[in-house]
Symmetry: C2
Subunit: 193 residues, 2 copies
């Protein structure tokens, strides 16, 4: 596979993928292929949402598409916020509003275990589809710490590092995260195809 | 991963997987783990059906599960019989009834291209899921030929071999089929986990 459309315009994500895939495939953003529509991610799972993104773009351009969908699953909340991580609480909230809401909803709960989950889908064509869903385990803190990253990073604590993800340098996060794990496995598939 | 439950009781399939995975994992059948229920495969895609099988078994035994779902997709019939391959026509039909029905439905169609498709899912736990969907391309003949294999094999013609799949020895089919292709990629994942 020489060329893959990535269903994102996020430059950080593309740099991350280019790095992991060792620049051996040409990654095109949605902007580069001219896609200006909206993709309705109404799946019930990360895998469904990533498949919806891929299928929407493949059906227009008929070229291999890579898409991911990620979120935070908290055990004491039965997996919430899950696929609603980026819209937890209300549409207009900031990242900070959302993680403060999460801390509030976890008040009094002893089980603070959680996992970031990433479903990464490579949709080569309707018959050849590859899905890797990986996790990144941690615990929800009682108070936010750190300034790096985004989303729930300030309240996601890693025992092995004695730090929240927001206290980790990006270079480390990008080696151990849910998306990194999924991408490393996907790399094996892309190189084998 | 040391032990995987295979969501099947088909001995042929298990031997095939043992062969491909080089006996490096212990594969347990549904019978061996004591599952006697029925799994309702009501998904719209091969991937959905294989995920349903995995989830049903995982939720009971809490151990990694491998499941596949396969079918024949005929281009002139817009992908039919697809997920309905094993029930094409009517519930009580034989394999022969079904491929004869397919030939009838293709009468007068010039485009005979088709693909066997296999979705193979390894469900390690709800957060770690791996899906490989592969295809095996061919053409639908006008008349059945050959006695090997099962299902639509007698009407599925391979130009490269100048034979239908039912005319191929099993050893060859098991190296080039949709399930073989998916299994070889899955092997890389299982060995990497």
């Amino acid at each position: 596979m020489k060329e893959i459309i990535i269903a994102t315009n996020n430059k950080g994500k593309i740099e991350e993928f280019n790095d992991i895939f060792e620049n051996k495939v040409i990654l095109r953003t949605l902007k580069e292929v001219g896609f200006e529509g909206e993709i309705i991610e109404n799946g019930n799972t990360f895998i469904e949402n990533a498949l919806i993104k891929c299928k929407t773009i493949y059906d227009i351009y008929k070229k291999p598409v890579l898409a991911d969908d990620s979120g935070l699953c908290v055990n004491a909340l039965e997996g919430a916020p899950g696929v609603f991580s980026a819209r937890y609480g209300d549409e207009g909230l900031t990242d900070k509003d959302r993680y403060l809401l999460l801390l509030k909803n976890l008040e009094g709960k002893n089980d603070r275990t959680a996992a970031f989950v990433c479903a990464l889908v490579l949709y080569k064509n309707p018959n050849q589809i590859y899905v890797i869903q990986e996790e990144f385990k941690g615990e929800i803190t009682k108070n936010p710490r750190g300034e790096n990253g985004f989303g729930y990073d300030p309240v996601f604590f890693l025992k092995d590092y004695d730090k929240t993800v927001a206290e980790l340098p990006n270079e480390i996060k990008n080696k151990i995260s849910h998306r990194a794990k999924a991408s490393f496995i996907m790399k094996k598939i892309i190189f084998a195809l």
